[in-house]
Symmetry: D2
Subunit: 331 residues, 4 copies
């Protein structure tokens, strides 16, 4: 019974089908019919024009999105525990040519206005200090918490005042939308560029860079090629993304994963660090308790000395979640 990570899940059967259907010669790179359809499909999804490019990893999607708003001498305000800071091995420094991550604080790995302003207030020495060019937030955060529309609006106001770009790492954007029960546009709020994750939600290896200023696509296209991320058979990535987004499969899968996490939370009770807002749950467990759970067949990662991380995915079996909930309640 696997609760290690949603990025270890299987590929959804409908995604496989779409990939097979894409297996006919077409224009290479992103000139094929599927890749060409992305802009319109996401335009409909978000209710406003956007340009959409596939990328084969979330790290690439995040960093390519950031190239539209951060100069090499600039900085990105992000949470101290964000993925771009902690889990991408300095990829932003590479793609952004040495630009700096400016670390902010906030509960549950979410940025808030106070945390962002604290960073901005520390930038006082003109040319001697790196200036912020953008803010990057994660929907849902590293603790699985969602930004509500009003929280996004408050951050959006800040970016306007300070002339900053706004990026959203949406590796689990689907889980946020499913939890918030709002439209994708509301869950994205005022962001300029969104990394729309698919790989943790049924795809094999495809995320989407969604640019709400379509003119930025030109820049990202050059940067993507230059980073070795322009696949010659890009149609297979487009097929994965379309299989999930068209028809709403992406939200069904996310809702399933969220429900499994909620069920586990019901068993975890007050051990949970936060009430779950997505498919991730962080639970206080002693080493002995973890050993006991693993002996019962549950696989999961330690988060830190006191906490375990339990992640559900589209293919988590409901009965596994139920059993785990009971096991937690019985501790």
């Amino acid at each position: 019974m696997q609760f290690l990570s949603d990025n270890a899940a299987r590929v959804h059967p409908l995604v496989w089908d779409a990939m097979h259907r894409a297996d006919a010669p077409d224009v290479p790179y992103d000139g094929d019919a599927l890749s060409q359809r992305l802009d319109a499909v996401f335009g409909d999804l978000f209710g406003r024009p956007c340009a959409v490019l596939w990328a084969s990893t979330g790290t690439a999607a995040n960093c390519l999105a950031l190239t539209t708003m951060v100069q090499p001498h600039g900085g990105v305000i992000c949470h101290r525990e964000s993925h771009i800071e902690s889990d991408e091995c300095g990829a932003p420094g590479f793609f952004l040519h040495g630009a700096k991550l400016l670390l902010a604080d906030g509960v549950g790995a979410k940025l808030d206005v106070a945390g962002i302003e604290a960073v901005l207030l520390g930038i006082t020495r003109g040319v001697h200090q790196v200036q912020a060019h953008a803010i990057s937030i994660t929907q849902v955060s590293e603790y699985g918490l969602a930004y509500a529309p009003d929280e996004l609006a408050a951050i959006g106001t800040l970016t306007k005042v300070h002339g900053l770009g706004l990026h959203m790492d949406g590796a689990r954007f689907a889980n946020a939308v499913a939890y918030l029960g709002c439209t994708p546009a509301e869950a994205a709020g005022p962001v300029d560029a969104l990394s729309f994750g698919c790989t943790k939600n049924g795809a094999m290896d495809a995320d989407a860079v969604v640019l709400f200023d379509p003119e930025q696509a030109e820049l990202v296209r050059w940067r993507r090629k230059r980073a070795g991320h322009l696949h010659s058979k890009g149609r297979f990535m487009a097929a994965q993304i379309l299989a999930l987004v068209e028809g709403g499969l992406w939200l069904e899968l996310a809702a399933h994963a969220n429900a499994a996490a909620a069920e586990i939370a019901s068993g975890a009770g007050s051990r949970a660090l936060f009430a779950p807002q997505s498919n991730e749950l962080f639970v206080r467990l002693t080493p002995t308790e973890r050993t006991a759970l693993r002996a019962q067949g549950f696989a999961f990662y330690d988060w830190d000395a006191d906490t375990a991380r339990l992640v559900c995915s589209w293919d988590t079996r409901q009965e596994h979640a139920t059993v785990l909930a009971r096991a937690l309640a019985a501790l």
Copy 2:
């Protein structure tokens, strides 16, 4: 009848099968059983120890391989018409942090000792000039020509004398081996790092970086992650590569493509720029002749004003090659 590019071909059925078999939860990134088997499989193939990492594009494979031998202040001697110079949108400059490509001449887009030495002789002004750190050759070249083992040996001697690394872009390495009728080790010669292409030869999106100094794998691992090329479900790339290499499918497919090109060459006669040594053929054709061929249903790219490029692949149908050969002979 499609002769546009081998990178537009379909995915081979056995590759699909292998990908489906890989679709079970496993250790993410490259910790899975398939990725872990690559070193041994390629070690057997080349008869010497090597470390092997997957990459989803040839550009990424080339540039990651070059990071093992070129410092940011160094240069790479390559052919003026090589892929890294002409078709990667400056990716080497990005991955190598501004290192320079030092352009050499040679017939058929192949480097030779004279061309390389001409570049080296021009580097005379010490710290004012970029120094060569490596040589990069393409097996087969952009004109589809193969380096014979003695040609590789001569270049290898040069690299030893001058303390340079040697990289081989093997996007069509399979076609070279099939043409030369030698072992993979002989077709690689004294190279330090090889980009072993699979995407043009039946795979969906997987090339292999083969490091004959296995200790360099450590470096490439960091650089790959940092470039956003560490897939969380890397097992699907490993599956593609293994499906081709284990059992020898890669060579069968390349031999098929080569044979199709040879058949077309028999019809092209003296119009061919070079006798074909792989799956590519460059044929002198007037605009009128091209129009006539296209009207007969043949799809291909113009190479330049006087020449068309005809590319066969693993799924080129033999009868299409025959028809094209006849059409060329009839011009």
Copy 3:
């Protein structure tokens, strides 16, 4: 008798005086009164608004100027023998984060419309190829030849048509103005950014980045600091530049150096590769002849197997030039 290089000449006494006068505490970096005066002084010199920043080397000045017009994924069209290509150890690749130099041909190391268009015509494959973002020309060229105003206008028209920036490496801009007998504005033509050289013309270590779009100064200021080129006592560089430019010393010194070169040319006769247009002369000399000249006390560099380079500077003594002219005539 030294004809090695103008960058080995002494510092002019009036430059020394200005530096000594600057030796009083003032606002550090570029906040001092002298640095603050540069914009106005160069605005007067060129008859239009500009922003001016000092830099301690020509390489830094060139590369900082180019940051205003070239993105990391772009390219700079320059002459195959230009200083940025041949003598800056890849500095443009460093400052521009991997951008590429696109090499053009032209007589006497000068670019012309045909040479530039030949490069542009070769850029046809969209995202697979580096696109030109700027053109860089050298006034005077590596062979000491000046661009006449109409030549500059023709290149300027090209940049407009293709949406390119135009940079001028003016390490010896003073010599060009002195030779052309035109205004500085005419010798700069339609350039967007000029590296205005002082170090080869009486200064110790100060060149000026002249930005004819003053809004670009903001960008260069960040990039200069980030490259370690923001001196805390920048007033000493400003003092050097002002000592040369205010009052016209820069042109007097250049005219002197040009005259010395012209005198030598009169002795060299048809041995000269080009009639001199500045302070540099390239003269065909056999190894034996060079040995003979060196035995007479003349110091100079070999340019290539057949040619010697003779460089005069502000402190070349007229009688040394006369003696050298006679020695050449007597060969």
Copy 4:
């Protein structure tokens, strides 16, 4: 009465003299007799072989030194308030091609073993996280505090255990040596590369990169040229450095500045954040008190809302320090 910064001080007369003496044609760049003498002079100073290269700013010296020990995918552990983190506008990210600064804590902006180990313990996720390649410490720290030899030894042990390089930003190294009363070798401890500051201690614009592994000089030479920091008349920088180091002027000047700070501290009493260990003093002062002091003619910077920074230099007049001490005591 100026206590703003030691980098706003005048150039020492003996430095001027040395620069004037250097004003004769010599081999350009760093081939001149003065530049060539640096290795030997610093070898004597530190009692062991070293290679020494000039750089015109402390930022350049720091970043060039770090290139010998940090790969683009690595990180540098430094104090949260260090100059490379806070005052160099991201220059380390530029020179090190996106490498990351890993921020540690410690009293008085000094690193200690606990602070460094806290950073190292947080690096647990392999290829997903930037690994430390080096530690950078500042002698004296941003609060003017010196590392004692035993503190350096403890950090040195850590670097050995973890295979890290050790860099010292010695912008005020002279003040540390003067305070500690030890040899330069003892004040440098086990560092691999030292930025030896001169600009804040009587020079115009010259710091020295001291490499205790002389073989690293080769690398730094390339990187220096490529960063536009190879002056054609480098002899003037060498002259400044030699004027200070040969004969011990550097230590006399630092001792003078330290003494002035100590005198001021005697007046500041318990208002001083730390007992002074160099030429800098941080004093708690209310806004009203600062206004009063400024009205008496004292110029100084605010450090933060509660603290003023008072900096003495080689040309601080003793009587000014005395007057300031009295003014502080009288508050």
